[in-house]
């Protein structure tokens, strides 16, 4: 189920602004494609009526001469179902929020609307964004468009599938430990994890609050950058949103010249367990940059091997605290029971197995006698991981490395082995722990083997805080050099 021809968000919005196409036509085409790819289970719900109404409104604004205010005029967007849209579902892939109707728009959604984009539906995810495969959704897994027997990655699997299968040019996901970049790598899309604070989290359902960030997915680097430029920026509704100016993230990316750029090559990221085809892809990207005049510098990130261990103390502790609010009292699912304690227990029984596992782990590491040994220690090593990056970025502009150790794995393969599943995020969690921005972009495919077809490969760029523009420039350059 490989996508056919489609145009980018940049091309589409230009055509809509110029009156050569309409938002309504773009939305109809996206909804039609969404029906064709239904077996991939990218979406949990559609906003057909609302999307048609909003498209007509965008077309009216174009007719009224307001096109200059609409950088995403008529662009259909898919949104991960942990980001709130007023009047619609925000299930988080969980039975706990199945009956919930969002009372307000997430800030990112309000900014999309203002820019002329139209959300056509909400996409599948691992329950409360906890997982690396989208298998933990209470509503069934999504499937990889390049091989439907394989996972699309996760937790933003549905959003990435919607882009990779040619339904929408761009989508919103969210990241806590790699949940946009890893599925982007598995499905052959561009996935962006912005700097912590770059995008308001108002309306994003909380998982690990010191890590969470809304991210963008695109079929091209320029599209992912354009989408980020619309949703980025400070917001009075999120005290962690950063006041730093956004700058122009998407314009003229292809004017960047690699000559003189310093690209870091971290030895720790190329050790055992890395698929040889992914190593070869990173080397080819490195060589393309070097051939164009960039200087490749070996850097050391000595604490990165501890990233998963740190992540699974910090993220689970924060998750167990954030998930305490699902008690059946104020919103969402409530199980009937004769007394309050039983109501809590019976309501929370609706959490899936992975959620219970993480709540148990998080409660354990925060419990009396273990807090210092686990959460305290994890937070301290986290500071070391951040320090490694700060030292590296004194010498280089960006770091090049793999996004994932392997290509997409078969559905069910890691379902019974939580640690193996967690280790899939080994190259992505460090950027979340350090708070820095990172991008995954496609670089060719693995060679076909008897046990697996050719599968997309993702390579990753990481940069210092608020260096998104530079990362997009490097990524755009590499996009032009990458094998298809």
């Amino acid at each position: 189920m490989i996508p056919g021809h489609r145009c980018t968000a940049v091309e589409l919005s230009e055509a809509v602004r110029a009156g050569e196409s309409t938002a309504s036509a773009a939305v109809e085409a996206a909804l039609a494609r969404a029906r064709e790819i239904e077996p991939l289970h990218a979406f949990l719900s559609f906003r057909e009526e609302e999307a048609r109404r909003e498209a007509a409104e965008v077309d009216r604004r174009i007719a009224a001469g307001e096109e200059a205010d609409l950088p995403l005029a008529g662009v259909p967007v898919a949104v991960k179902d942990n980001i709130a849209i007023a009047g619609g579902a925000t299930t988080c892939g969980s039975r706990l929020l199945e009956p919930f109707v969002s009372p307000f728009d997430a800030t990112a959604i309000a900014r999309l609307r203002a820019a002329g984009a139209i959300v056509i539906g909400k996409t599948n995810l691992d329950e409360f964004a906890m997982g690396s495969s989208t298998e933990n959704s209470a509503f069934g897994p999504s499937r990889n468009p390049h091989d439907p027997t394989r996972v699309p990655g996760g937790s933003s699997g549905g959003s990435v599938v919607a882009v990779a299968a040619g339904c929408v040019p761009v989508a919103l996901g969210s990241e806590t430990g790699g949940s946009v970049r890893q599925p982007a790598a598995f499905c052959g899309a561009v996935g962006v994890k912005p700097t912590y604070g770059r995008v308001s989290r108002s309306g994003l359902v909380a998982f690990g609050s010191s890590l969470d960030q809304i991210g963008t997915v695109g079929a091209t680097v320029e599209d992912a950058a354009l989408l980020l430029s619309v949703i980025a920026g400070s917001d009075p509704r999120d005290a962690t949103s950063a006041p730093e100016p956004i700058g122009d993230l998407a314009a003229a990316l292809d004017r960047w010249n690699p000559a003189g750029a310093r690209i870091g090559w971290p030895a720790e990221y190329f050790g055992a367990g890395l698929d040889p085809a992914i190593l070869a892809a990173c080397e080819a990207a490195r060589d393309a940059l070097a051939a164009a005049g960039a200087e490749v510098v070996e850097v050391s990130l000595p604490h990165s091997p501890y990233g998963i261990a740190v992540y699974y103390t910090v993220a689970i502790a924060e998750a167990s605290s954030n998930l305490a609010r699902y008690d059946g009292v104020r919103y969402g699912h409530r199980a009937e029971a004769g007394d309050l304690s039983s109501m809590y227990l019976k309501t929370r029984a609706a959490f899936g197995a992975e959620l219970k596992r993480r709540i148990m782990l998080g409660t354990y590491v925060l419990s009396a006698g273990y807090y210092e040994a686990f959460y305290g220690k994890g937070t301290a090593v986290r500071a070391r991981i951040r320090g490694d990056f700060e030292r590296a970025f004194e010498r280089v502009d960006a770091i090049l490395c793999p996004t994932t150790p392997t290509p997409a794995f078969p559905i069910g393969e890691k379902a019974d082995d939580p640690l193996a599943m967690y280790l899939n995020d080994i190259y992505t969690v460090s950027a979340n722990l350090a708070g820095i921005p990172a991008i995954s972009l496609p670089w060719g495919r693995t060679p076909a083997r008897p046990d697996r077809p050719a599968l997309p490969i993702g390579i990753q760029l990481m940069g210092p805080d608020f260096s998104e523009r530079r990362l997009f420039e490097i990524a755009r350059f590499l996009e032009g050099k990458a094998p298809s």
Binding site: V101, P103, F104, Y196, G197, S210, P236, A239, T240, A242, P243, Y306, A309, V310, Y312, T313, A324, G328, V329, R330, Y331, G332, R334, A337, G338, D339, L340, S342, M343, L345, K346, R348, A349, F351, K356, R357, I359, M360, L361, T363, Y364, V365, S367, A373, F374, G376, K377, G378, T379, A380, V381, R382, A383, R384, R386, P418, L419, Y422, A434, G435
Partner: protein, 92 residues
């Protein structure tokens, strides 16, 4: 890291999770495995927690704003009466 069955039951009580005996045994194994992996941090010389990334977080002005509309909250609540969330009996 050896987590006992009683540890699992204690943690489940703290987390307000009702586990079957089968789940208690499974979580004993899985928690042990994951916590054992996390223990690799133990011998590591670490930085101070205060060194963790802390982005600039300027506070907004402390001024009265519009908001506090109860209607959508009432609509989202499982049981809402006279301005209160109603829950089952707390004490006998």
């Amino acid at each position: 890291m050896n987590v006992s069955l009683d540890d699992v039951r204690h943690i489940a009580r703290l987390a307000r999770l009702e586990l079957t005996e089968e789940e208690v045994e499974r979580f004993r194994r899985e928690l042990s495995t994951v916590l054992e992996y996390v223990e690799q941090l133990e011998g590591l010389e670490a930085g101070r927690a205060e060194e963790a990334p802390a982005p600039d977080q300027p506070l907004r002005p402390d001024s009265v704003a519009e908001g506090g509309d109860v209607a959508p909250l009432r609509a989202a609540a499982p049981d809402f009466v006279d301005g209160f969330f109603r829950v089952p009996r707390v004490i006998e």
